[in-house]
Symmetry: C2
Subunit: 265 residues, 2 copies
């Protein structure tokens, strides 16, 4: 049913395949070099406080674009995109409960829906790999390990909750390079928020992540922690909004923007 993944080399090709119902899978590794984004769709009545939440917590919630209410199109991330059809799979939430995981949301669209496109760590992981660094969970073919910390986000209205971090282990010299490389990408979480002492974040056992899969940290390696895009999703779930739509995990929006266009220099 799904098209050959190797035929999806640009953001436009991925979106077109999704729109035609020919691709419903995970987007990791598709359209190499094109920035992918997390999607959150809320009613206008909730949008202002969520936008304030993102503005107050830019490391976990780096906003790439926020739409006008009712507009399923984008201005900056892609031309002629339709957020109702152009992702492989969505999640629909009511009162904080997952209701369905459709492959398009045209039937749910309303004039008061505002879409938030939030930067994704795929972009900086590509930059790490392009620089010759090894990213453990990618080498192992598993999901990145993620942890709830004891660090609270800055709250905004009903939106509050702990910072969620992702962890990638590196040897010290590679950790330094990783700080420099990811620091160039403030639009996709930027530099790490911590390295070295998980207990300072309230993480008691690296082998038991709250999301994703555990990866080994070898002797002589430092665990390096980045603010994670799961943070706004966890905050959203906790807020138990009457209605919300997000992308399905791993099924991101693929943009026309090149990863390198998100670098500061």
């Amino acid at each position: 049913m799904n098209v050959d993944r190797s035929s999806l080399q640009t953001g436009a090709q991925v979106r077109q395949a999704c729109r035609a119902g020919k691709f419903t899978g995970q987007t990791s590794g598709l359209a190499p070099g094109f920035a992918q984004a997390n999607l959150v769709i809320l009613r206008e009545q909730d949008a202002f406080q969520f936008l304030r939440f993102c503005q107050k917590n830019p490391k976990p919630c780096p906003l790439l674009e926020v739409t006008e209410a009712g507009d399923p199109g984008l201005r900056k991330l892609a031309e002629s995109a339709d957020l109702r059809t152009d992702l492989p799979r969505y999640r629909v939430w009511k009162q904080g409960e997952l209701i369905e995981e459709p492959t398009e949301i045209s039937h749910l669209w309303q004039d008061d829906l505002v879409s938030f496109l939030i930067g994704c760590s795929f972009t900086f992981e590509s930059a790490l790999i392009d620089s010759g660094l090894s990213v453990r969970h990618i080498d192992l073919g598993v999901n990145v390990p993620m942890y709830r910390t004891t660090i609270p986000c800055e709250p905004a209205g009903i939106f509050s909750g702990p910072l969620v971090v992702s962890m990638r282990p590196f040897k010290p010299a590679d950790a330094i390079r990783a700080v420099q490389i990811t620091g160039r990408f403030p639009a996709v979480h930027g530099a790490p928020i911590h390295l070295g002492f998980p207990e300072q974040l309230g993480i008691t056992n690296l082998a038991q992540p709250d999301f994703g899969d555990a990866v080994p940290v070898e002797p002589g390696e430092l665990p390096v922690f980045w603010a994670c895009g799961v943070t706004p999703q966890a905050v959203l779930m906790q807020a138990k909004l009457e209605f919300a739509i997000t992308h399905s995990p791993g099924c991101m929006f693929v943009s026309d923007l090149k990863d390198e266009a998100l670098a500061i220099s």
Copy 2:
């Protein structure tokens, strides 16, 4: 005898006071915002291999300027400087032995002398402090702790020896900031070369530095290591050249260049 330090607010003022014999002290804290530099003066016959050594080891030996043989002036770092008189104090070396510490070297000048101006960590320490970070040895009013590592420099001719590193302890989030801030200054040692595991550098006891003074590393802090400008001086001494002149420790050349002019962005 020495002029009031507070009257020395620019590189030109410091150099003028040195030239007039009115200042012979350490330059740390003088002319805030102006880049200071290490000085090495060699005979032309030794200059090429030393230049190659610096070129092969840019982290410990970031070259700011290399003069023509016999020219005591500079083109880039300062106008109308005279390297024979414009530093507070010099060290004169013969066969690797310290012979004298004069306040000017006009009587020793020869037509075949080449001067190397090498970036100094004062520049990036100013940037760290301006960013709100605390630099331990500065807070304690002592010299930075420095350690010989087991990492060999890339040799060039008779010049070889271990990398010497300086150490500054930081909490993890500050260590990350320190990587980002000092990474902007590749002309003055740049980003750290290591953090977290001194034993990986062959350093067995942080409390016993090979040069400078020990500073405490508190629980929850990471020792962060930068390549150090003492490296070329140690290499020079070990080479036991027939003749060399350096600045006296802490008595640097103060340039007309602003620290920020050495940043890459």
